[in-house]
């Protein structure tokens, strides 16, 4: 039984030690720095997927025979590996045990015994001794009044050897370290749980009036009402925003705007605008004024009276077929086409006869325009699609609360550290000796300056 208690004591001391904190912080810093050195598996990628195979082929090309070793050691997905999770779990344990010890320390008033006082008096850099005639009670009353005037909380204990005084200022900031450690625990737990509780649907491209059903909440769907873009003189986007409507079982329930840094939240689900791009609507009329059936040569493209193409800087080329006219339209988006007035976004439209590579039409368009190809007229309408992210993350609020607690604790403990003064007043034969000591670091900070001012006043009052 005794042995078991000893083992528990050893474990408690081990996990409450500041040395362990230092080792764990070093280990976490080293593990995190792998992220800065080695490429990491992108979030959301699953092992065995085609995406993963492509990514891993790149890694093998770069690291040759070392790639497999790095993968086996878990260094290519460091945040999912035990190298990261183990020190983090140990740090939580370490912080929790430290917090328990701190709670014990801050929740009781520190009494000073004769031995503790003598030890502190020997070690401290700021000490003073006053000897004068009078009574112990009178000297203690004066000292207490003076310290209380300086906003110290004072407690006096009467002992055989004399009266012992313990005084503290900024008493509440003693809770700062506890608040900081608690905050850090909440942040780490929030980060670890965030991955399990949160969900997100990314890269949702919505053109005007297009709908999207939210996969994590099938009763809700989303419609893009319109998308606006402001451009710099050279055509690069300065700002963009989109108006969206949430529909619940087909009924409109909320409408709002999203823009970069300005998300829109409904029922805990938040919409973010990640990006945007040009969307081209093409319609055609033949010589009789009848609509020309068109088909976008893209996934999901069907023969309709209009064809819609979503382009971007990366995927800047699209094709539309007009089967009845045996015509293929090629549209190439140039975000920065050099012109006489500078670089502006433009669209190069080319038409080919089916099965033949000879061009039958080629023009550059700088906005919505119409064109005539072999007697038929085609209208080109520019719009913008929005690239959205839909996310729900219940860990955000608690993590931010933890981070704010940590920040507050850092400010109060570092800028307003608690100040402690101990004093012992003893007397014999009408001679009173008062010894004072300032606890804490022997620096030239505010505590030391205040102690010297106080000692001047003590000298006067005594």
């Amino acid at each position: 039984m005794v042995m078991r208690r000893d083992i528990l004591d050893v474990l408690w001391r081990f996990f409450s030690s500041r040395g362990l904190t230092l080792i764990l912080l070093t280990a976490i810093a080293l593990v995190v720095s792998f992220n800065a050195i080695l490429p990491q598996m992108p979030a959301g990628m699953t092992i065995g997927s085609n995406e993963y195979s492509r990514w891993y082929a790149d890694i093998r090309a770069r690291y040759l025979q070392w790639a497999d070793l790095l993968e086996d050691l878990g260094l290519l997905s460091i945040y999912a590996s035990p190298w990261f999770k183990l020190p983090l779990a140990l740090l939580i344990l370490n912080l929790t045990i430290c917090a328990v010890e701190q709670f014990e320390a801050v929740s009781r008033w520190p009494n000073c015994s004769a031995e503790e006082f003598d030890l502190a008096f020997k070690r401290a850099s700021d000490t003073r001794t006053f000897v004068m005639s009078g009574t112990v009670r009178g000297a203690m009353t004066n000292l207490r009044a003076l310290l209380e005037r300086h906003r110290y909380k004072v407690k006096v204990q009467e002992e055989q050897e004399g009266s012992y005084l313990t005084a503290q200022r900024f008493f509440l900031t003693r809770w700062g370290a506890l608040l900081g450690h608690g905050g850090l625990i909440v942040v780490i737990v929030g980060l670890l749980l965030g991955g399990r509780l949160a969900w997100r649907e990314e890269e949702i491209r919505l053109g005007p009036h297009q709908m999207y059903q939210i996969q994590h909440d099938p009763s809700l769907s989303l419609r893009l009402d319109n998308s606006q873009v402001k451009l710099y003189p050279d055509g690069t986007p300065r700002s963009y925003r989109a108006q969206l409507t949430f529909l619940e079982d087909g009924k409109e329930v909320a409408t709002g705007m999203v823009a970069p840094n300005a998300p829109f939240t409904y029922r805990g689900i938040t919409l973010y605008q990640r990006s945007h791009g040009p969307v081209m609507k093409i319609t055609g009329l033949d010589t009789q004024g009848e609509p020309v059936p068109l088909q976008a040569l893209a996934p999901g493209g069907t023969l309709q009276e209009e064809a819609i193409l979503q382009l971007s800087e990366g995927e800047n080329e699209g094709y539309v077929a007009a089967p009845e006219q045996n015509l293929i339209l090629r549209l190439v988006f140039h975000p920065h086409l050099p012109t006489e007035t500078g670089e502006i976004p433009a669209l190069v439209v080319q038409a080919y006869r089916g099965g033949v590579t000879d061009l039958v039409f080629s023009e550059t368009k700088f906005g919505s325009a119409s064109m005539h190809i072999e007697g038929n007229s085609y209208a080109l309408e520019w719009g913008h699609y929005a690239v959205l992210t839909i996310a729900r993350d219940p860990s955000f609020a608690p993590t931010m609360l933890g981070a704010t607690s940590l920040l507050t604790a850092a400010i109060i403990t570092l800028y307003l550290p608690p100040r402690h003064i101990w004093a012992v007043v003893s007397g014999k034969g009408g001679v009173v000796e008062t010894r004072l000591v300032r606890l804490g670091e022997g620096d030239k900070g505010g505590g030391a300056r205040e102690f010297h001012v106080l000692m001047g006043e003590v000298e006067e009052s005594l």
Binding site: R18, G19, T21, L22, L25, T26, I28, A29, V32, S33, N35, A36, Q40, A43, Y79, L191, G194, R200, Y232, D234, T236, P237, R238, S239, Y240, A259, P260, N261, A262, P263, T270, Y272, R274, S275, H276, G277, P278, S312, E313, P335, P345, T389, A391, D393, F396, T399, M400, A403, T404, L406, L407, A410, I411, L414, Y415, D443, K444, G445
Partner: protein, 270 residues
């Protein structure tokens, strides 16, 4: 509208003059009156401050994400923290080391980083956020404090080497350097923590993910971990002298390495 590059250049000359004065003070402490050093320091702070204000008004406050402006802000913050510590601790022996670091960074920016030009400056819509600005500027203040700590650490190592030198009577004691370094780290910690918190808030508003292990976040976290480690180590016996100086130097070097990442992503894309 004329730009403020000339003012930054003048500030660089003043900083160089201040550096020479400080080194002179180190070798011949009685040659120069203290008011001369203080006056030159205040002149630099005013000149650099005016240039920064001008940049902010001429361009937009979001333009501080440009590496040129963010580093210029870092130098202003470094010298403000240095002045605060000089006043608090009443000793300027560490000055030459801090000012040398500040001058090298300032001169590097003037020589190698082109200043932002109003006509061609394009700021990504995601950077037009007060949270991003707070994140960036508080990181710069923290890095300014770290530059002071780095200077203090170099001062500590130099003071250890030249303890009995007759040539540098103005050299501070190792205790003074140690105190300067510790105070600088204490000033930097809340700012760096605040930078992490505001950065997370910005990322949440911009992308819906407050932490996504981007290079910028990871580097800032590494610097924060090293700073936290240093602050914990300073209270342990055996860690208060040379190890503290070496840890402070390591943190300063990491902060410098992470600096280019903080000013990334100005240009918008389609």
């Amino acid at each position: 509208m004329p730009d403020e590059s000339a003012l930054y250049f003048v500030a660089n000359l003043i900083l160089f003059a201040l550096l020479l004065l400080c080194w002179t003070h180190l070798f011949r402490p009685n040659w120069l009156p203290d008011r001369m050093l203080l006056g030159t320091l205040l002149l630099f702070l005013s000149c650099q401050g005016m240039a920064l204000l001008w940049s902010g008004l001429r361009l937009e406050p979001w333009a501080f994400a440009h590496p040129y402006l963010s580093t210029m802000f870092l130098i202003e913050a470094t010298l403000l923290v240095y002045r605060l510590l000089e006043r608090l601790l009443k000793q300027r022996g560490v000055g030459p080391f801090v000012l040398t670091l500040a001058f090298v960074i300032h001169a590097y920016v003037i020589l190698f980083i082109p200043p932002p030009i109003e006509e061609t400056l394009q700021i990504s819509p995601f950077l037009r956020s007060p949270w991003h600005l707070l994140h960036l500027l508080s990181a710069m203040v923290a890095y300014g404090a770290y530059t002071c700590a780095g200077g203090g650490a170099i001062g500590y190592l130099m003071a250890g080497l030249l303890a009995r030198s007759r040539f540098a009577p103005g050299l501070p004691s190792t205790q003074d350097c140690q105190m300067f370094t510790r105070r600088a780290l204490v000033i930097g910690f809340p700012w760096l923590s605040s930078s992490l918190v505001t950065g997370a808030l910005w990322a949440q508003l911009a992308w819906g993910s407050y932490w996504s292990w981007r290079a910028e976040e990871v580097w800032l976290l590494i610097v924060w971990l090293v700073l936290t480690m240093t602050l914990h180590a300073r209270t342990r016996p055996g860690w208060q002298s040379r190890p503290l100086a070496l840890l402070s130097l390591l943190g300063f070097v990491l902060a410098l390495l992470s600096l280019p990442l903080l000013g990334q992503g100005l240009a918008p894309t389609w």
